[in-house]
Symmetry: C2
Subunit: 473 residues, 2 copies
């Protein structure tokens, strides 16, 4: 078992400086959209991970695919790293300029390019956020379900193969990206996939880019599946005597094939933080926050089955939130757990685990994790997309206490080791980034990681695309 | 627009002979499981495509992953092609030894290795067929839905990214393969993916291999998702005044988000062939054959919505087949359309199109295809997984009439050109094989196909894995 990286910057790798000639070319083309101001660089050299800020040398604000291609061609010519940047909501250090280079800010590429409501597809620029997309398509009666909590960009979500609360029903970015426009490491603009729902036309390059964390190219347009807004939606809250009871109920719901749309676990700590932060009065006990989508009758039927399963596991106080306002309030609170935890523990940052295991092993995996977390004594809470076997323990570690960070990382290592032994993965949805490169080798094996390296070297021979993430070369 | 390949063997490429030393090594290890008998070679040098038989030089019957790795290592050493073989049900010439080499018969690797019913997963050897799998897991209450019609092997289905009648609800092999064991071109045994339902751990090598048609490695174990058998299943047949009316009804069903499990179109020709072959008495008019999965109430609700949509499009005689026997009879007949067509037209082989378009363009695409087929005068029928926008025109061409084959290929070219202009794909589920290499370039663009070539060269530098398929190097 490989220990987590002791440092986030591989000691053998030196930053590659942006040469003056390249900077001059960038300034000539981009004018004020190319900046070396330290405030902007700092903002582009961090994310929501606990890694120290590691700024790029230059930030370029791109407004078109041609802009991106122009930057990448210059970077290719000068062998300088390129790091795509959305809103900076990554949790694993994806955006940090560990080998220097240029941050390509895609935030201004925020147009919904085409809505094909009659085909249930939409094509967006990479800087469109998921909330923006759902606002802009509201009148079509369709929605995009993937919801990682943060209001991330769809480019960033595709790059990390994100998922979140709705994935138990609607799948992840893996299942929901139909086609891409990508600027390759060579600066070429290529398209992968079509708007057809399925295809057997050659290698699945779309899915090779989805989850590649910016290391193979820059996505400049993303075509996504949409879904009809369900006729009926209802949310329910149910409290359980223990985390284990809540998880056992979830396992049974999944094994029975109930098409539940969301099935989120919050442990008592998470409920407490959320109550305080959002001024709610939820009972401070382990809780499932569930959502059902379908016809009126279908939703009722699903909920009855789930309620009966919950009863069998000591679930109490099955409460309905059927108005959109109530539902929004509950989900917004859930999504703010991350910030609620930090605001309850001032001066801390969060180290978040992200294991995902086969559903039958979830109780075992989460059980040991709780025991270890309680023993460790760090403030923590658990939230989980438990219907998928995925959960997060968030440890709040003080920024001035490196020993706490180290302890949290040790706990994460123990958890990942356990999850891998249960045939699970070190990361259900956050990605590898800087944080889990050792875990990836433990999980996939060196031979498989070497295959990834072979693909990377072939598509990016100068190693300019977000180098030093997923693996070092 | 590139014309279909005039010949299936690229004129510039010479077969690479299996050297005597390699043959001796194979014989030493495999004894009678290594054969050069012409009957066995012929059987391994054809599939269900109309291409002429092109036998490998040697056939090796593998019984284990180590067997496969041993063959691949020898092939690597001697730079000789390796072609994985399941049951030979490919439709696009995937199995033909166009550059000579060794056929690796995986038919004896037919064990269901692990059923994890509690996780809804199963791991199989590549030679397990889909019908066998569903027989072997019957008592678990689970099933594997992907059904391409032929009783193909799961290895072959993964290699071509197959789908079929159930894909409209359950997805394709792309969505249903969780993990793989693969023998790489270098003869290494690697594992991709885990049994966790989702993961963001590095490049999605699983999906890179799924659909790679044996050109990147040999799959030696496949982990699949399973689904609970629905509480209720019912099938319905509905006749329409025209193909267009049937398609318009389908489009509306999909746009409304009805979770229909199967939605198959048969044109009047297909119904006629099927009636004759299976001694059925279906009305010989365009027909939708549908299936609904869910709870008793859910199935009823779906069927009512669909019936009302069908009514709006002139659908008549909505007939139910609720007993498993009736359903099996209907679906078996549908699956035998391919053989029914040939048996009604003795001395013919079938040229099958496989376009898939965004659902809103389906009526337009299929409409022009029908007009062109009627004008051409070849015997044909249409079947289609129309809920996915995917349909097949099967032209029966006489084996002694190369002009008929050429005409069918010209019609296919017209159809593919049209489908691509509608943002669709040349192949929804059959793969590229030998047949659609030109179409792939038309669809994806040379830059994207060159990316595929780059991946291929990196993972298989000697071009030994099923060379000459998908693209030539």
């Amino acid at each position: 078992m490989n220990a987590p990286l002791p440092d986030h910057i591989h000691p053998a790798v030196k930053p590659r400086l942006v040469p003056a000639a390249m900077l001059a070319s960038l300034r000539e083309r981009f004018g004020e959209r190319c900046t070396t101001s330290s405030a902007v660089r700092e903002q582009h050299g961090r994310d929501e991970s606990p890694f120290p800020v590691t700024p790029p040398e230059v930030v370029v604000f791109c407004e078109s695919t041609d802009d991106v291609a122009a930057v990448v061609r210059l970077a290719q010519e000068h062998a300088v790293p390129v790091i795509p940047f959305g809103v900076g909501s990554s949790l694993e250090g994806h955006l940090l300029a560990v080998q220097g280079g240029v941050s390509v800010d895609l935030g201004r590429m925020d147009k919904v390019l085409r809505v094909n409501a009659e085909d249930l597809t939409v094509t967006v620029q990479p800087g469109v956020t998921r909330e923006q997309l759902n606002r802009e398509i509201r009148e079509t009666g369709l929605f995009f379900p993937i919801d990682p909590g943060a209001n991330a960009t769809l480019g960033g979500m595709a790059a990390t193969r994100a998922s979140g609360t709705n994935a138990v029903r609607y799948g992840t970015m893996r299942e929901n990206v139909l086609a891409l426009e990508v600027v390759t490491a060579g600066g070429d603009i290529v398209r992968t996939g079509t708007r057809a729902k399925k295809s057997s036309a050659g290698y699945d390059l779309t899915r090779l880019f989805v989850g590649s964390e910016g290391t193979l190219g820059v996505m400049t347009a993303v075509t996504l599946k949409l879904y009809p807004l369900p006729e009926a939606v209802s949310a329910a809250v149910c409290h359980f005597p223990s985390v284990d009871a809540a998880v056992q109920a979830t396992i049974q719901v999944i094994q029975m094939g109930v098409p539940i749309a969301r099935c989120e676990l919050l442990d008592a700590n998470a409920v407490r933080y959320v109550n305080r932060h959002d001024k709610l009065a939820l009972r401070e006990a382990p809780m499932l926050l569930m959502e059902f989508h379908g016809s009126e009758a279908g939703v009722k039927e699903q909920a009855e089955i789930v309620q009966s399963i919950a009863d069998d596991h000591g679930g109490e106080g099955f409460q309905w939130a059927t108005t959109p306002e109530e539902r929004t309030r509950l989900w917004a609170a859930r999504h703010r757990a991350y910030f609620a935890g930090m605001s309850a523990n001032p001066g801390t940052r969060t180290v978040t685990t992200d294991t995902c295991v086969p559903i039958s092993r979830l109780a075992e995996c989460i059980g040991l994790a709780v025991t270890q977390a309680d023993e460790a004594g760090l403030p923590y809470y658990i939230v989980g997309h438990v219907g998928d076997g995925n959960f997060h323990i968030a440890y709040m570690v003080r920024e001035d206490r490196p020993d706490q960070r180290e302890l949290a990382e040790r706990l994460n290592l123990q958890l990942v080791t356990h999850a891998i032994s249960l045939e699970g993965t070190c990361t259900g949805e956050h990605g590898i980034g800087l944080h889990k490169m050792g875990f990836l080798v433990d999980e996939a094996g060196l031979g498989t990681v070497d295959l990834m390296r072979t693909v990377k070297r072939a598509l990016d021979p100068k190693n300019i695309m977000n180098p030093g993430k997923i693996f070092t070369l």
